[in-house]
Symmetry: D3
Subunit: 165 residues, 6 copies
Amino acid sequence: MSNTPTDPPILSHLDESGQVRMVDVSSKAPSQRTAIAEGLVRMSATAYKLLSAQQNAKGEVLNTARVAGVLAAKRCAELIPLCHGLPLSFVGIEFFPDDANHSIAVKTTCRTDYKTGVEMEAMMACSVAALTIYDMCKAADKGIVIEHIRLRYKSGGKSGEWHND
Amino acid sequence: MSNTPTDPPILSHLDESGQVRMVDVSSKAPSQRTAIAEGLVRMSATAYKLLSAQQNAKGEVLNTARVAGVLAAKRCAELIPLCHGLPLSFVGIEFFPDDANHSIAVKTTCRTDYKTGVEMEAMMACSVAALTIYDMCKAADKGIVIEHIRLRYKSGGKSGEWHND
Amino acid sequence: MSNTPTDPPILSHLDESGQVRMVDVSSKAPSQRTAIAEGLVRMSATAYKLLSAQQNAKGEVLNTARVAGVLAAKRCAELIPLCHGLPLSFVGIEFFPDDANHSIAVKTTCRTDYKTGVEMEAMMACSVAALTIYDMCKAADKGIVIEHIRLRYKSGGKSGEWHND
Amino acid sequence: MSNTPTDPPILSHLDESGQVRMVDVSSKAPSQRTAIAEGLVRMSATAYKLLSAQQNAKGEVLNTARVAGVLAAKRCAELIPLCHGLPLSFVGIEFFPDDANHSIAVKTTCRTDYKTGVEMEAMMACSVAALTIYDMCKAADKGIVIEHIRLRYKSGGKSGEWHND
Amino acid sequence: MSNTPTDPPILSHLDESGQVRMVDVSSKAPSQRTAIAEGLVRMSATAYKLLSAQQNAKGEVLNTARVAGVLAAKRCAELIPLCHGLPLSFVGIEFFPDDANHSIAVKTTCRTDYKTGVEMEAMMACSVAALTIYDMCKAADKGIVIEHIRLRYKSGGKSGEWHND
Amino acid sequence: MSNTPTDPPILSHLDESGQVRMVDVSSKAPSQRTAIAEGLVRMSATAYKLLSAQQNAKGEVLNTARVAGVLAAKRCAELIPLCHGLPLSFVGIEFFPDDANHSIAVKTTCRTDYKTGVEMEAMMACSVAALTIYDMCKAADKGIVIEHIRLRYKSGGKSGEWHND
C-alpha cells in the first residue's frame, strides 16, 4: 500500500527474510481516509419471507447485524494479525434487501484520519454483519451463502482514490 | 435449530414479541457436534504469483491466516451477538490453493460437545482466515474477492447430520 | 455464596491473609441457575419524547441496548476480576418504558447450568444496557441517571432461591 | 453532542432514516476533554462492617474495584456499540466510604485529547468499579444496590463546560 | 500431552503435514486438573526499597498485579493461539518478596475440571502478574528482569502428576 | 518515566495517597518512540531437536509465536491495568535459535509516535511469543523455562535514549 504506482507489487507484510511483521508506518503522514466494502447474503425464499412475515423481524435482524458490524470494525486489529489499530471516526452499515432474489446486500463505510487505510475495518464490518444475518436466519435456512465480500472504494493516503466497479 | 423437521421454520433469535434474545438452551442435552464451513479467496494472477515467487511467502501467509482463523473461532460469541459461548474441542483450518484459477479455498472444521452447534464458529473462522489472506495480499491486489462462505456440513444435536453439496 | 445459612457472612473473595483470589469451585456441583437483575434509566421529558417522536427511534435504541447487554453478559468475567467464566445458556433483556415518569426500566435474566451463579452476568447486562441507552440519548440529555441496579432474584446452587422485593 | 446550544436536541446516533450509526467525527478538531461521573454503592450494615473488620479487606476490595474500573474505561468502545475508540490520557477512580450510611461513593475522572468526549468512559468505569464492589461483597449481602450513576462534569469540545450539581 | 510415557515425544500442535491446528480433545474425559507456575521479578535495590518506603505501595502494587494475573488467566486462550478455552474453577496468585535479593517470586495456581490442562493459564497468569510489577516499578528501574517463568507442578489427565523441582 | 534525571525515582502509578491510577499524560507531547525487549526460551535437547526433525516444524512454531506476539502487543493495555492504550506504528518479532544451547532468543521491537513509551508493549509481545513457543513444545518438554525477559533499549520522550547491555 506504500508502493508508488510504478513499484512492482509486493506482499508488504513479509520482511526481507520472508517473515511476517507489521508494516512500519512511523514515517507516514496521517490523512483523511475512507474505505467502502460490499457483500451479499443470499438465502432461500422461505427464510427471506420470514424476515417480512414475522412481526418486527427485519428491523430487529438488521439492527442486530448493524450493531455487530460496527463493533467488529472497532475490533478489527484484534482479529487480523498484522492490521494496525487505529481510531475510527465513522462506521456506517447499510442493508439493501432484494425481494426478487431473496438476498440482502451489505455496504459498510469506515473513516479514519490516521496513517493507514481502513480497508480491513470495512471488510471486517461487512463480514461480521453478514455472519450475524446468517446466525439469525440459520434456523430457517442453514445453507445461506455469503457472497462477494470485496472492497469497492478507498481514498486517502499516498495511493489516493481507488474504485472497484 | 431446535425445531423438529416438521416444525415450520422460524427465526429462533426473536421472541414472541419479535425482539432479539439468546435462544434458551438450558434444557438441551450436550452432544458431540461438528461443523464444516468453506469459502474461497479469489485474487489476480499477479498477487497469486507473489505467493509462490517471494521466498517463504505462501507458508507464512497461510500460517498467519490459519492462526487468525483459530483465534477467531474461539472469540465467535464476542462478535456474533446471540451466539452462545462454548468450549471448542477442535478447530482445524485447511487451505487448497488452485493455481489455475489463482484462488485459495478455505475449509474450517470445529467441534464441541456442548448444547449448541458450532456452525457460527466454523463460519467465523473461515471468514477471518479469508480476510487475513486478503490483508496480507492487498498490497498486490486490492480487488481480491471473498466468495461463497457457507456451511458444508453439520452433525450432532437433535437435527442430526446435514450436508450442503 | 458457599456459606450455609448459619455461617457468619464473609467476603469470600479474600483469603485467610486478606488477599484477593477467585473462590475455588472445584468441588461444587453444577446446577441449573438463574439470576434476574433490574435497573432504571431516568431521563428528561425532552429526551424521552425524542424516543417516540423521531421515526423508528425507540426500536433502534432499545434493540441496540439489548444487543449490548447480551454481549456484555457474555464478557462479564473479562471485566469483573474475580468472576468465574461460565457458559450462559440464556440471556434475555426486557425494557419497560414508563411514559409518565419518562424512564425505562431494564430487566435482565441470565441462566447457566454451571457451578457458580450468574448474578454478576445479570447485573453487568443490566448496567451495560442502561449505559447504552444513556449513550444514545445523551445528545438530548447529558444528565440521564441510572438508578437502582440490583439483583431481584436468584435460584440454583446450595443457597437456593432468593427474592429481593 | 455536535449540536450548538440553539439546535433542537436530537438522538445523534440515528441517521435520517432512523437507523443506528456511529456519529461521523472526521471533521471535528481534537481538544482537551475531561469527564467526571459518580455513583453510589449502598450495602447492609453487616456487609459494610466486614470491609473494616476483616484484615486488609477495604484496601483489597477498593483496589480491585479501582483496577477493574480503569480497565473497563479502556475497553468502553468494545461494550458501548456506537462509542468511538479513543486514547485515554488519564483514568482516576476515587472512593468515598460513608460509615453512617454504609455506602461507598464512586467518582471517576477520564481525560483525552481526542475529537469526542469521554463521558461514556467515565460512566463505564464508574459502573464497573461499582459492580466489582458488589461482586466482592455479595457473599455478605446479595441485595447491595448501585445508585445514581450519572455524569457530573464535562469539559472540552464545542459544547464546552457542563456541570450537573 | 496426550502421549503415554512410552510414546516418543511430538509437537502435538502440528498435524501430519506439519501445519498448526488445535489438538482435538473431543474424546478426552474431563478430570480435575491443577497447574502451578513460578517466576521471579528481580529489581534494583532502589526500586525495591520504594515498594516499602512509599506509603501503601507494596500492597497496591501486588494487589494490582494479582488482579492482572487472574484476569490474564481467564483470557489465556485469546492470546495463545492453539490453547483451548476452558472454565477455570480457581486462580490464585501469591507473591514472595525477598528483601535480601530485592526480588519478588510469583507463584500461580490454576484449576479446572475440563479435558485439557491449565498449564498455559498458570504460565500466562505468572507472566502478566510479573509484567504488571514491572510496569508499576519501571519509573524507578527500567532494567527490572523477569526470570525463570516455568511450570512447577501439574496434576490430572492421563499423564497424572508431574513435578519440576 | 516523567521524572527528569535529577528527580528521585518514584512509583509513578501511585497517587499522593498511595493508590493506583493511570499516569496523566494530558500535557505530554507526542514523539517518535521505540522500545526493544528480549527474552530466552530454554528447552531440552529432545524438544529442540523436534523443531528441526519434524517436517516444517520450526517455521510453523515460530510463525505462530510471531503472530501471537504481534497480537499481544496490540492488546497490551487490556492486560496491564495502568498502561495507556496507544496506536502502534510497528511491531516486529525476531527469533534467534541457538542450536548449541537448545534455546531460542526472542527480540521484539515496538514503535509509536504517541505520548507514552512502548516498553510494556515490547515486553508483552516478548512474553507472549515465548509462552506460545512453550505451548507448542510442551508436549515434548513441560519443563521449558522462559528466561531474562527485559527491556534492552528505549528511545523517544523526555528521558531520551536508554540502553541495557
